[in-house]
């Protein structure tokens, strides 16, 4: 049974409860006295709005002009879609199919005005026809209580002896405005279509957010994968419809008592397949066990990248796509080892050996190596992380000194004379003597 936010009134009741006399609209106390062991759930307006948004998202694929009618309605302009779909029945069928796929219970209604469509859908007698006369007949039979007048207006009309919308429509407009006020007239005219009722179209947000709330807490990460699979395939579908890809997912795991965990899942390149995301998330879960039972999870995607045509494949797609294989491997490694574990190296324009290289996150670069042949000086292939003091006397000296002096501008001053020397162990070392006359090894000629 669902009760309203203040916990006073029953809004919905399950079949079991209604068989024992619990009706929507009765007070909670009455309901409790009828059935002692009622299970109650309070409505959450925020969540209702979110669910409505989610539904609008997929409906947006079928129709362009959508208006949200909180708390439970969606309006879509379909007059202009008839040509695209090839007739009204096809549109109706598409929407019904979408509803069936998502296992949603919804009442469809077609009306010549937004309000009319809404009222017809509420009655549950919606039919797939564009016949205005039929719609008006349906509306005329509608009791005033269901015509969405505010309660005050409704009682006033009922006291006048008006019971259905048809009675109201029959009255002359000027009299109606004079006696009952312009608001009621406007409402009635908006239903009939004699007064414009512009609707602001809903715009889909430029992000993807889905939440799964669990009835029972989930203790194992395996259990999270199942709802994630559904969300990720929604994401894949969404990305396909937008012709976009993404390279970062935000996953929020909410616990009952402790602070939620935020997981940031990155792929090394643009990706849209649910399977690839799921594999990365599975790896991540293996690395990070759950702290506590999870109450709900939220998947949020904010970064979108335009999709590029797959390259590097021949016409029949027989050679495996190396680019894709590369991204798969790097993403897997990153997911398991963490962000800083993978590095790519690049030289950096500086004379100090410690500063002459830089590491960066791994990225696939497609540029061709431009043959800028810099006359780089001879350097060892191994650089020690920190210079080590030289303990043994070198056996032979080969080249040097090469004086490197610099860094006065950023406080990491270096003044050294570098030599190439062979140690008694046979190793070729890059040794230097610094300003304090101490000898150090800085690299190996591996």
């Amino acid at each position: 049974m669902i009760v309203d936010a203040s916990g006073q009134k029953v809004l919905q009741a399950c079949t079991q409860a209604s068989s024992q006399g619990v009706q929507p609209g009765i007070r909670l106390k009455t309901a409790l006295s009828l059935v002692a062991d009622l299970a109650m759930v309070r409505t959450d307006p925020q969540q209702e709005a979110r669910v409505l948004q989610d539904q609008a998202r997929w409906l947006y694929r079928c129709a362009a002009h959508i208006t949200l009618v909180p708390p439970d309605g969606l309006l879509a302009e379909i007059g202009s879609l008839q040509k695209l779909y090839g007739g009204l029945p096809a549109v109706w069928e598409t929407v019904e199919q979408g509803l069936n796929e998502r296992r949603l219970t919804a009442w469809l209604g077609i009306g010549h005005t937004p309000l009319a469509a809404r009222l017809i859908a509420r009655t549950g007698k919606g039919e797939c026809s564009a016949d205005q006369g039929h719609m008006l007949r349906l509306l005329e039979q509608l009791p005033l209580a269901e015509a969405e007048f505010d309660t005050q207006a409704c009682t006033r009309l009922q006291r006048l002896g008006l019971n259905t919308l048809g009675n109201l429509f029959a009255l002359p407009a000027t009299e109606l405005a004079r006696r009952l006020g312009p608001k009621i007239l406007a409402h009635s005219q908006k239903i009939q279509g004699t007064r414009p009722d512009p609707q602001t179209p809903w715009q889909p947000p430029h992000r993807f957010r889905q939440q799964a709330d669990f009835v029972e807490d989930i203790e194992h990460s395996q259990g999270l994968l199942f709802p994630l699979q559904r969300i990720l395939s929604e994401l894949e579908e969404d990305l396909c419809w937008r012709q976009q890809e993404t390279d970062s997912l935000n996953l929020l795991l909410c616990y009952r008592y402790t602070e939620p965990t935020r997981l940031h899942i990155r792929t090394s390149g643009p990706e849209h397949r649910a399977e690839a995301f799921l594999n990365l998330i599975r790896l991540r879960f293996e690395q990070q066990p759950l702290q506590a039972p999870v109450v709900s999870l939220v998947l949020l995607v904010k970064r979108f990248i335009g999709r590029e045509a797959a390259s590097g494949q021949d016409l029949l797609g027989e050679t495996p796509d190396m680019n894709e294989a590369w991204h798969t491997l790097i993403s897997r490694l990153q997911a398991r080892l963490g962000d800083g574990a993978l590095q790519q190296l690049a030289p950096h324009a500086d004379h100090r050996p410690e500063q002459a290289w830089a590491s960066a996150d791994v990225q696939r670069k497609q540029r061709k190596a431009n043959a800028a042949e810099n006359p780089l000086p001879c350097r060892p292939l191994w650089l020690m992380r920190k210079p080590q003091p030289l303990h043994t006397k070198p056996q032979a000296w080969f080249a040097g000194p090469e004086r490197i002096s610099g860094g006065w501008w950023d406080g990491q001053r270096v003044q050294r004379d570098y030599y190439i020397a062979q140690l008694p162990s046979g190793q070729l070392a890059w040794v230097f003597r610094d300003a304090s006359q101490g000898w150090h090894i800085h690299g190996w000629f591996g």
Binding site: P320, A346, A369, C378, A399, G446
Partner: protein, 229 residues
Amino acid sequence: MNELLSALKQNARIWQGHQPAHTSQPAESTGYQALDNQLGGLGWPRGALSECLLDTPGIGELHLLLPLMQRLTHSGKTVFWLNPPHTPYAPALVREGVDLDQVVVIHTKDSGDFLWTLENCLRSPVTGLVMAWPGKLALRDVRRLQLAAEAGSNVCVLFRERCHAAQNSPAALRLELQPDANQCLHVQILKRRGSWPGQHCELPLPQRAGLAAAETSRVVKGPWPKSAR
């Protein structure tokens, strides 16, 4: 039966001591003719583990692999360095003609991650060469890696200490590296598929420090003034 036997011989699973077998195992040339000759004209085996056993860095062990690295990075294959003991120095690699866009350095925290990473790299088609410094490695793990290497077709070189030379290993190729006079690298073949081990060769590698072979010393000698800074 005969087909089976010849297939085994072709893959160098069985070899006859009295005749040098010409096998068709996939391999990558080392880039050093002297070493290739000793390895039956083939080079580094692909889809199998190779081991380099050495005590200290700086004896030319990277130069042994440098020709392969150059070739692979320019053909678009990725070279992975797994847990290198020191920093691979980017300016030197560029100078030697290695395309750094294809070089990925990975550091792992524990041996579980190390094995997992190595296996994944080995199985991927993008990998050309994996160089790994495993530290301690159980025999069971080497066998597991050998299986992973067989699943892919890339060169994998493990750098291990020379004290492991006496132990047996499932690796397809085992080389013992020692420094020699005149900046040479002495390579002793401990094991290879398809033939007797025990060959050895000397690779002159003075160019790794920018020295010509004949040149002895280019050190500018003192006297240094005492007050020099």
